[in-house]
């Protein structure tokens, strides 16, 4: 029984982290139809901002939960203004530009921090379930992932900005004709997606360690989840993260984490063949 609980926590944790690292990417993709190839580096910048804050004796909770989204959100807004805005409607060029940005950021981070792994302390101790011990922080990440999804849902559903964003997502020309400043909506969305990426990076920093090329270990999974999920950012991310998280975890149990990732990729390629528009392209159409 205790073992079952531990295994269940592992599965839910896999799904929750997948959702957490994909959400920022999914929002930008769902709204603007672009894949931000610098998403991993946005996360790493979040991790580094948390690490720097901790080294300057900022309270650990503020350092991992508050500093990263603000820092990376601001960076995202600047990047939107300087790069992404010039390429609206040209998806491929946008992807290439964000790829260039990703290399650039990796280089800058290596120059500043060096090619070493920095640690961020884990703020919660382990908890005991029967004869087994599990990380209290995993449970916290799970709760946080659920809370983030809920918060994004409320923002999109109930706030005025969310309404404008959904309108722009459904029909940008019509929204513009009705007086919405769509380029501003895009700017805010991109910054919001960046902030979510930074948040994910900050939250996962104690688990992952922090090094310049850390982004590469996230983006493969994040891309797969977003493509598998399809256009609807929340439902797509949740459903794809659940499906892929479970597949990943099963393969990890049977072999090792690397084969978990391979299984994830194979599942995604087969899924894309069956559902080219992703899960939400076929089921739950028009959901958020």
């Amino acid at each position: 029984m205790d073992l079952a609980i531990i295994v269940a926590i592992d599965f839910v944790y896999a799904v929750a982290t997948l959702a957490l690292i994909s959400l920022g990417l999914a929002i930008v993709f769902g709204m603007m139809r672009i894949i931000n190839l610098a998403h991993g580096e946005f996360m790493v910048m979040g991790s580094y901002s948390a690490s720097v804050a901790v080294h300057h004796h900022v309270n650990i909770w503020i350092a991992i939960l508050v500093v990263p989204p603000i820092a990376v959100g601001i960076i995202g807004a600047i990047i939107e203004r300087l790069i992404v805005r010039r390429l609206y409607g040209r998806m491929v060029e946008t992807m290439l530009a964000t790829w260039g940005l990703s290399l650039f950021v990796v280089g800058i981070l290596t120059t500043i921090f060096g090619d070493i792994t920095e640690g961020v302390p884990t703020p919660l101790s382990g908890i005991t379930i029967g004869a087994y011990q599990t990380s209290g922080y995993s449970l916290f990440v799970i709760a946080l992932s659920v809370a983030t999804m809920g918060a994004v849902y409320v923002i999109l559903r109930s706030s005025r900005l969310g309404l404008l964003a959904r309108g722009t997502m459904q029909n940008a020309d019509m929204a513009a004709a009705l007086g919405t400043d769509t380029s501003r909506i895009y700017a805010v969305t991109f910054a919001f997606g960046a902030a979510l990426a930074g948040f994910a990076g900050g939250v996962l920093a104690p688990v992952s360690g922090v090094f310049p090329t850390l982004g590469g270990s996230y983006i493969g999974r994040a891309f797969i989840t977003v493509i598998g999920g399809g256009a609807a950012p929340l439902v797509g991310t949740a459903s794809a993260a659940t499906l892929f998280g479970i597949i990943n975890q099963v393969a990890t149990f049977l072999a090792n984490p690397v084969y978990g990732e391979v299984a994830l990729l194979l599942a995604a390629i087969v899924l894309i063949r069956a559902l080219p528009q992703g899960i939400t392209g076929r089921f739950l159409r028009g959901s958020l």
Partner: protein, 347 residues
């Protein structure tokens, strides 16, 4: 004959320059520089493979290093097991082609969009990188070949003269082979592009729906083109390992994939010659950056990609042929027109 030469003057020029380099460089340069240029020629083949599927087929392969790396590892593993490099070289071409065909089936027959093709190919590379990186230790081996994880595989034998395992190619032989193959691939692709298949492929790039309405199977054309690209990238990977006698997971890295795209962006994706020149220029630049500590190579590569996407989206070569040459011609023509004006024939 003369008109044929005139319409194909650029091809003839490439052939003449290529043969001149092939004969002249070994006479003029020392072995170290020749080795460096051999690498450029190998990267030139890699650039051509992506130029063909991206620039002419319109297939946005963001993870081309998957095929390059697979060719490299396939050659390394096979040659360590077999000894004679003839079969390993063929395996290094066939395996990436098969991967490209399998991947292409899932992607093109699902009719997924460009963005998805880019992301899926990139993800394939990422996962190859992670898998190979994790194969450190004695339990990961294929036959006699230890995969070596992040340490890579050292002491991989060079290519030898077919069926004569003891006659391995010296640096001069590798140079000649790489240059000959570069020229052969260049002209072979030019010929393919001139066939019906090549024309349909370019048509698909321009407008996939219209080509399908005309009765061509766009999916199959893309699949074949993608497999050709995979095979050529595998060939480049095979030559690369034979050149350095060493392969490590960095052949699969995202930076490697990005570099190939940067070669195309710099040289001009819609040409064959441009990407080769881009490969030479950027590879040279990366080596130069490696000799100093001040600037990180990633910063420079990222900045180049950003600048070209934002400011020179078509690359340098089309800028010369589309802007500079017409401008020169126009100025010459306007000068000529002044002469001809009394007759009014040039209006």
């Amino acid at each position: 004959m003369i008109t044929g030469l005139r319409t194909n003057w650029s091809l003839v020029a490439v052939g003449v320059v290529g043969v001149a380099l092939l004969i002249g460089l070994p006479l003029l340069l020392d072995t170290y520089t020749l080795l460096q240029i051999t690498l450029y020629a190998i990267f030139g083949i890699l650039a051509l493979s992506l130029a063909f599927i991206w620039g002419y087929g319109g297939i946005l392969c963001f993870g081309h290093s998957a095929f390059f790396g697979l060719g490299a590892y396939a050659y390394a593993v096979a040659v360590i097991n077999i000894g004679d490099s003839t079969a390993p070289a063929l395996i290094a071409i066939a395996l990436p082609a098969a991967l490209a065909a399998a991947l292409g089936y899932f992607m093109f027959y699902a009719r997924i969009s460009d963005v998805y093709v880019g992301v899926i190919t990139l993800t394939v590379t990422l996962i190859f990188y992670n898998v190979i990186n994790s194969t450190a230790g004695p339990k990961y081996h294929i036959g006699d070949a230890l995969l070596g994880g992040f340490n890579g595989m050292p002491n991989v034998p060079s290519l030898n003269i077919p069926f004569l395992p003891d006659d391995t190619l010296e640096p001069l032989g590798m140079f000649l082979l790489s240059m000959v193959l570069l020229l052969a691939v260049y002209f072979a692709l030019q010929i393919v592009l001139a066939t019906r298949f090549g024309r349909v492929l370019v048509g698909i790039r321009e407008n996939e729906h219209r080509v399908e309405f005309l009765g061509y199977d766009a999916r199959l054309h893309k699949l074949v083109a993608f497999s050709i690209g995979g095979a050529l990238a595998g060939l480049a990977g095979c030559l690369f390992v034979s050149w350095g006698n060493y392969v490590s997971p960095t052949v699969f890295s995202v930076v490697q994939s990005a570099q190939i795209i940067i070669w195309l962006m710099v040289g001009g994706a819609g040409t064959l010659l441009g990407p080769v020149l881009g490969a030479v220029a950027i590879s040279w630049l990366t080596v130069e950056i490696g000799t100093q500590q001040l600037v990180n190579a990633n910063v420079v590569l990222g900045a180049i990609l950003l600048i070209f996407v934002l400011l020179v989206p078509k690359g340098v070569a089309p800028m010369i042929t589309d802007r500079l040459v017409p401008w020169l011609l126009a100025s010459r023509r306007s000068a000529a027109a002044k002469h001809d004006l009394p007759q009014g024939s040039r209006a």
